[in-house]
C-alpha cells in the first residue's frame, strides 16, 4: 500500500464504523435471550434466531406487512401515472402558463408534512376516511406530486423534440404520442421514481400516526412507533422487531442497489 492511500483508507474505515456500529449493536441485542437486559455490543454465545419468530408473532407482522403493501399499491402506481401525465404536459405540450404552474408545484417541495397534518386530519374526517388506509393514500399522493411532477418533467424536457415531431407527423395526437411513444421511453425515470416513492411510503410515520388510530392499519414504520411505546422496556424484543421492520427496505435496497443509489442521489440533485 502506498502512503498516499493510507489516509483515505483510514477515513473510509472510520466512516464505515460510525455507520455500521449502530446496526451491529441492534443485531446483537436482538439475538440475546428474551427478557434479559442486554449490554451494548456483545455477540451472544448462543444467538437466539428464534427471537425473530417471536417478535414477528408478538408484533403481529402479517397484517402490518399487508397493510403497508396495500398502502404502497394505492399510492405508487397512481402517483406515477398522474405525475407522468403532468410532467409530460408541462414539458412537451407548450401549455400557456406552464412555467408558472411548475413553480407552484416546486414550491410544494419545501412544505413540511407537519404543517399540513392538522388540517389534513379534519379534512379526512369530513371525507369519512379517517382511520382508514385511504386517508394515508390520498394524502401521500397529493404530497408526492411536487416531487413526482418535477422529476418526470425534467425527464421529458430532456427528450429531443424530434421524437414528438415524428409522432405528430405519423398522425398521433398528444394523447397517443404520450402512451405509445413517451411513456415507454420514460421507463428508467419511472423506475427511479417508483423506487423513491416506495421507500417514502413504506417509511412514512407521521401521517400514519395521526390519520390512522389502529396500528394494524398503518404502515410498518407507523406501527413500530406504537410497538415501541408498548414494549419499550423489552429491549431484546424491540430490537428484533426493529430488525424485522428494517429488513424489507434493506432487501429492496440491496436488490435494486444501482437504481436506488442513482435515484436517491439524482432525486436529491433535481429536488
Amino acid at each position: 500500500m502506498t502512503r498516499s492511500q493510507l489516509l483515505p483508507r483510514l477515513v473510509m474505515a472510520m466512516l464505515l464504523l460510525f455507520t455500521a456500529i449502530p446496526f451491529l449493536t441492534l443485531l446483537s441485542a436482538s439475538l440475546q435471550p428474551l427478557g434479559v437486559s442486554p449490554r451494548g455490543l456483545k455477540w451472544p454465545s448462543n444467538p437466539r434466531w428464534s427471537n425473530f419468530v417471536e417478535g414477528y408473532q408478538v408484533a403481529d407482522m402479517t397484517p402490518l406487512l399487508m397493510s403497508s403493501t396495500l398502502i404502497v399499491i394505492g399510492v405508487v402506481p397512481i402517483s406515477l401515472l398522474i405525475a407522468s401525465l403532468a410532467g409530460y404536459g408541462l414539458a412537451s405540450l407548450r401549455i400557456p402558463g406552464a412555467r408558472w404552474m411548475l413553480l407552484v408545484f416546486i414550491a410544494g417541495l419545501t412544505i413540511p408534512f407537519e404543517s399540513l397534518i392538522t388540517p389534513l386530519y379534519f379534512q379526512m374526517k369530513s371525507l369519512g376516511v379517517l382511520n382508514t388506509r385511504w386517508a394515508v393514500i390520498l394524502a401521500l399522493i397529493g404530497l408526492f406530486m411536487p416531487f413526482g411532477v418535477f422529476w418526470m418533467r425534467s425527464h421529458f424536457v430532456s427528450i429531443p423534440n424530434e421524437i414528438s415531431e415524428a409522432a405528430r407527423i405519423d398522425g398521433a395526437g398528444p394523447w397517443q404520442a404520450f402512451w405509445r411513444v413517451h411513456l415507454p421511453l420514460a421507463r428508467p425515470a419511472l423506475t427511479s421514481l417508483a423506487i423513491l416513492l416506495f421507500l417514502w411510503t413504506w417509511n412514512q410515520f407521521i401521517l400514519a400516526l395521526v390519520l390512522i388510530d389502529d396500528p394494524s392499519l398503518r404502515t410498518v414504520a407507523g406501527a413500530l412507533g406504537a410497538f415501541q411505546s408498548q414494549y419499550g422496556t423489552n429491549v431484546v424484543l424491540l430490537a428484533s422487531v426493529s430488525v424485522l421492520i428494517m429488513a424489507p427496505t434493506i432487501i429492496v435496497f440491496v436488490l435494486f442497489r444501482k437504481q436506488f443509489s442513482k435515484a436517491l442521489l439524482e432525486g436529491a440533485v433535481k429536488g
Binding site: 489516509l7 483515505p8 477515513v11 466512516l15 460510525f18 455507520t19 449502530p22 446496526f23 449493536t25 437486559s37 449490554r39 451494548g40 455490543l41 401525465l85 403532468a86 409530460y88 404536459g89 408541462l90 405540450l93 401549455i95 406552464a98 410544494g108 419545501t110 413540511p112 407537519e114 399540513l116 397534518i117 392538522t118 388540517p119 389534513l120 386530519y121 379534512q123 390520498l138 394524502a139 399522493i141 397529493g142 404530497l143 406530486m145 411536487p146 411532477v149 398528444p174 413504506w202 407521521i206 414504520a221 413500530l224 412507533g225 415501541q228 429491549v235 424491540l238 430490537a239 426493529s242 421492520i245 428494517m246 427496505t249 434493506i250 435496497f253 436517491l264 436529491a268 440533485v269 429536488g271
Partner: protein
C-alpha cells in the same frame, strides 16, 4: 415554435391544442390542490381561531402568533430546530466534503460495499434509526459500555434523559442519517469534475489544500447547495427521530416545532395554536431556504 403560422384557422386549432394540454396536468394538480394547497390555506385560517376541534371556534386574530412569538417556552422549539442545523447540516456537509475529497483518488475493491453501507441509514425508516439510537444511548447501551471500558465510568449516564446532553445526543442521530448521504452525493459530484482541472492545478504546483479550494469546492457548488438545502429542511422539519427517542424531553430540552404541532393539535386539542406554529414553521423554512437556493443556483452552470 419554429413552424410559421400562416392561416388563422391553424392558429385557433393550435390555441385549442395548447389549452387541451392542461388536461394532462389536471389530475396531478387536483390531488396537489386538494391535499396540499387547500390544507395549507385551511391551516392559515385555523391559526386565527381558538378551537378544540369539536365545539364552536372563536376568532382570536393574531393572538396565537403573539403567544408563540412572545413566550420563551413557546419559542424554544424554534430555536432548537435552528440549533439542529449544526448536527443535520454543518457536520454532514463538512465531514462529507472532507471525506469525499480524501476518497477521491481511492482505489479499493470494497468501494461497492462501502457505498452500500453509507446508504443504509438513508434507506431504513427514521423511526428505526430512532430506536437504534435509543438503544445506543440507554444505560446499558454501547456508548456507556465503551466509556466504562476505557475507564470513564464517571461519564456514563442515561444520555437521552440528561438535561444537558439529550439535545446533542438527538442531533448525532441526524448526523448519522445524513453524513453518509452527503458523502456519497459529494463524491458523485467530484467524479464529474473535469480531471484536466486537477492536472492543471498540479502543474501549477498547488498543494492538496489549494487544489481543494480552487478546483473541488467550486466544482461542487451545486451538490453542496443540494446537501445544505435537503439537510436544513430535515433539521427544521424533524419529527420522527425526536418523537421516537425523547418525545421532546427531558422537560422541553429537545422539543422541535414538529413535535409541538403534534402535541398541540392532537394531545392538548389546541388546533389554533398548532396551526399558528405550522404556519411559522413553513415561513421559517421559506425565509431560510430561498436565499440559500438563490445563492447556490446562481451560475450553477459553471
Amino acid at each position: 415554435m419554429r413552424d410559421s403560422r400562416t392561416s388563422t384557422g391553424r392558429q385557433v386549432r393550435n390555441q385549442y391544442m395548447r389549452y387541451s394540454g392542461w388536461l394532462f396536468v389536471l389530475p396531478a394538480l387536483a390531488m396537489y390542490a386538494t391535499f396540499v394547497l387547500w390544507p395549507l390555506i385551511v391551516s392559515v385560517n385555523y391559526s386565527f381561531y381558538d378551537w378544540n376541534g369539536i365545539s364552536e371556534s372563536e376568532w382570536v386574530g393574531f393572538r396565537n402568533y403573539k403567544r408563540i412569538l412572545t413566550d420563551e417556552t413557546q419559542l424554544a422549539p424554534i430555536f432548537n430546530s435552528l440549533k439542529l442545523i449544526v448536527f443535520f447540516t454543518v457536520v454532514p456537509v463538512f465531514v462529507g466534503l472532507l471525506s469525499a475529497a480524501i476518497l477521491h483518488n481511492l482505489r479499493s475493491r470494497f468501494l461497492g460495499a462501502y457505498r452500500t453501507t453509507l446508504f443504509l441509514p438513508q434507506v431504513i425508516p427514521l423511526v428505526a434509526s430512532g430506536i437504534v439510537w435509543g438503544w445506543i444511548y440507554s444505560p446499558t447501551g454501547i456508548l456507556n459500555q465503551t466509556l466504562s471500558w476505557v475507564g470513564l465510568d464517571s461519564w456514563t449516564r442515561p444520555w437521552l434523559a440528561d438535561f444537558d446532553l439529550a439535545f446533542p445526543a438527538v442531533g448525532v442521530v441526524g448526523a448519522w442519517v445524513l453524513t453518509g448521504f452527503c458523502t456519497l452525493l459529494l463524491s458523485a459530484g467530484i467524479s464529474k469534475i473535469d480531471p484536466n482541472l486537477y492536472d492543471a492545478a498540479k502543474v501549477d504546483g498547488a498543494g492538496r489544500f489549494q487544489e481543494f479550494r480552487a478546483v473541488t469546492l467550486p466544482g461542487l457548488r451545486r451538490e453542496i447547495g443540494v446537501c445544505v438545502i435537503v439537510t436544513m429542511i430535515g433539521a427544521l422539519a424533524s419529527f420522527d427521530i425526536v418523537f421516537i427517542t425523547t418525545q421532546g424531553g427531558p422537560g422541553r430540552e429537545t422539543l422541535v416545532p414538529g413535535i409541538q404541532i403534534f402535541r398541540a393539535a392532537f394531545v392538548e386539542r389546541r388546533v389554533g395554536a398548532a396551526s399558528a406554529m405550522a404556519v411559522i414553521l413553513m415561513l421559517l423554512i421559506w425565509i431560510l431556504i430561498l436565499p440559500i437556493q438563490r445563492y447556490f443556483q446562481r451560475d450553477a452552470t459553471r
